[in-house]
């Protein structure tokens, strides 16, 4: 394995022992087709020109790297926030959907399908489809449809069809199953637009490449703001792991940068009500990928829990499994309570209401110790508008 390739995907679609494409034969041609073209499309000038211009003028990039002064004072270090919350639609998810929609267009696909949990990826997908005039079908667990009514309405307003996943636990993993079933039944005209660095190869790599703009910008911005061209820490929350994968991407081979991934431990790592996949899961297959997942002793996939709908996925991207396995990244977890406290603290120290998911990354500040001149980058993956109902309930505002 070359140094270059130590933490990236290899020709077989593996990250060390993780990854691959464990899919039924029905999906084989689709996956092979995507595998054959995605790198060339992403590498082409035509794609890059269009993608870059959309990121700039439509998404609003580059997103600021903001030195959070009062937060830094409290932790006696230098905390920089990578403001993905300021993107169009309010989270990092749009970087990926704008990229994949262009890939779909290059492949001549007419119909886009996606899965969504909280609805953030669904909204970002519906947005990209509206922009390109493509048909959009979003699968969403029946339980989530009830919990996330505003996002359901946004998707519908954007012209998407929202289909309830009524199987299994009727949440994100089942929505993903339904999307895969749709793809099995519509192999020719349909593009499956996955929302995180999960699923069969090449999805984890493709999504990571499309989110890599986050670390590309951090690298330039940190050089402008400090006397080093790298941060000492990069911290991000992990559901499937796309904002973390994008935040880590350009630092993977720079071992001076400590990478920290924060999972959601719900009511506590050992409470049985948790989404801390690395902490509580073990090796297995989920949605076509060999990775860590939460499962029973009999190999049935179990339903995770977190207050944050974007983090309660029972698996984790295979690259993260590899980063854990090799020790390249450190994995922490934060409980519901710790995330809520961190959200309130950021709001009142910096005037920024973060998404609940991102608040898990912020909660890591209390679990680590830093030197006075360290630069600590935390990816603020999304804004808190969508979580106001939870904040109102929990804080009594």
């Amino acid at each position: 394995m070359s140094k270059q390739n130590k933490y990236h995907v290899d020709e077989k679609g593996m990250y060390g022992q993780f990854g691959g494409a464990y899919i039924p034969e029905m999906l084989y041609p689709n996956i092979e087709n995507l595998k054959a073209v995605y790198k060339d499309i992403i590498g082409s000038d035509a794609f890059q020109d269009e993608y870059k211009s959309l990121l700039k003028d439509y998404v609003g990039r580059p997103s600021p790297l903001y030195l959070a002064k009062r937060l830094s004072e409290k932790y006696q270090t230098n905390v920089y926030l990578k403001r993905e919350d300021l993107n169009h639609t309010g989270a990092h998810k749009i970087n990926n959907t704008v990229g994949q929609i262009l890939i779909a267009k290059h492949m001549g696909k007419q119909r886009i399908i996606a899965e969504t949990g909280a609805g953030q990826h669904g909204v970002a997908t519906a947005t990209a489809c509206a922009l390109m005039g493509l048909q959009c079908v979003v699968y969403m667990g029946e339980v989530d449809i009830e919990r996330q009514a505003p996002n359901v309405a946004r998707m519908k307003m954007l012209g998407a069809e929202v289909v309830a996943a009524t199987s299994g636990s009727r949440t994100l993993k089942d929505a993903t199953n339904e999307a895969l079933r749709d793809w099995i039944c519509n192999p020719e005209d349909t593009f499956y637009l996955i929302g995180s660095v999960v699923g069969p190869h090449p999805y984890p790599d493709m999504v990571a490449q499309l989110q890599a703009v986050i670390s590309e910008e951090i690298k330039l911005q940190i050089a402008e703001k400090t006397n080093k061209d790298y941060p000492d820490y990069v911290i991000a929350c992990v559901g499937g792991g796309s904002n973390a994968a994008g935040s880590f991407y350009h630092f993977l081979d720079d071992e001076r940068v400590q990478l920290v991934a924060v999972e959601a431990s719900g009511m506590g790592v050992d409470s049985g009500e948790t989404a801390a996949t690395i902490a509580k899961g073990d090796k297995g297959l989920i949605h076509g990928s060999l990775t860590f997942l939460m499962q029973s002793n009999d190999g049935q996939i179990t339903e995770p829990y977190s207050i944050s709908a974007g983090l309660d996925y029972p698996g984790i991207g295979p690259q993260h499994a590899h980063l854990f396995d090799t020790g390249r990244a450190q994995f922490l977890s934060a409980t519901d309570k710790e995330a809520l406290d961190a959200a309130l603290q950021l709001t009142q120290l910096e005037g920024i209401i973060p998404a609940l998911e991102s608040s898990h990354a912020l909660a890591a500040l209390d679990k680590m110790s830093f030197k006075k001149d360290d630069s600590v980058v935390i990816t603020l993956s999304g804004r808190g508008d969508k979580d106001m109902a939870t904040y109102m309930k929990r804080f009594g505002f």
Binding site: G20, A21, Y22, I23, P24, E25, M26, Y28, P29, S167, G168, K173, D174, N177, L180, R181, I184, C185, N186, P187, E188, K283, G284, L285, I286, H287, G288, L293, Q295, N297, D298, G299, Q300, I301, T302
Partner: protein, 257 residues
């Protein structure tokens, strides 16, 4: 000659039936199996229930969910099949998703299958390359046939490659769909069956997905060694329970020319 080879060399119009283990009642697995053999099924595929059966439609999904609620697991299935070869002679294939097998331990799983007299496995999400590179030796030395799926989208080259590495039979998925999608057999499907047959494969084929009554069974048998009935039979079980008489009527109804 093993049981699968024997079957395919002796018979045509093979009627293979899929059902989910531990459904509708947890202890129905062997009752249904015996009733199928007595009723005239030539081959059975016992489904190992999984929480996330992504190649299955609503009928089989619901049966899996019920079976898991009934407490089914691979361990319990093996327990139920402990003495199966004392009173069931037809070939038995286990079908299920890779994760529970992986978690159980593939080597241990294969050893157990061999010990119990299981003839083959269908693991839709075990990719061909992975099988060939890691498991083919293990399966073959245990005499367990790994059965691959092909679909209308599978290229001729790939079908031939799969044929070279197949034992038992090849599972010809009749259309681009999940299990249970019920349609009449269309001309485009017939063209696909003819394409498969024109390749002169050395492994016999069975057609499955969307086969559920006398007419679709008959059409499928004209283009393969036989056909596989899944959702239609699972539906019967969900409506009538593991009733041996009904099961026999169902099989006879499908097989009658």
């Amino acid at each position: 000659m093993n049981r699968l080879q024997q079957l395919f060399s002796d018979k045509k119009d093979i009627c293979s039936v899929y059902y989910t283990a531990g459904f509708p009642q947890g202890n129905d697995t062997v009752t249904v199996l015996k009733a199928l053999e007595d009723g005239g099924a030539d081959l059975v595929e016992i489904g190992m229930p999984f929480s996330d059966p992504l190649a299955d439609g609503p009928t089989i999904q619901a049966s899996s969910e019920q079976a898991l609620d009934n407490g089914m697991s691979i361990k319990i299935l093996f327990e139920q099949l402990k003495d199966v070869r004392k009173n069931v002679q037809i070939p038995i294939v286990l079908m299920g998703y890779f994760n529970p097998v992986f978690k159980f331990g593939v080597e241990k799983f294969i050893a157990k299958c061999q010990y119990l007299g299981i003839d083959g496995l269908i693991i839709p999400d075990l990719p061909f390359d992975e099988y060939r590179d890691k498991y083919q030796g293990l399966f073959e030395s245990a005499g367990i046939a790994n059965i691959f799926l092909i679909t209308p989208q599978t290229s001729n080259e790939r079908i031939q490659l799969i044929d070279e590495h197949s034992k038992g039979f090849i599972y010809v998925v009749s259309s681009a769909s999940v299990t249970g999608a019920k349609k009449d057999v269309e001309q485009s499907q017939i063209d696909y069956f003819n394409r498969v047959n024109s390749l002169g494969l050395s492994t016999p084929t069975l057609i499955g997905f969307g086969i559920g009554d006398r007419s679709t069974f008959k059409t499928a048998c004209e283009h393969a060694s036989g056909a596989i009935i899944g959702s239609a039979f699972v539906k019967l079980l969900s409506e009538n329970g593991a009733d041996a008489e009904r099961i026999k009527q169902f099989i006879q109804g499908v097989k009658t020319k």
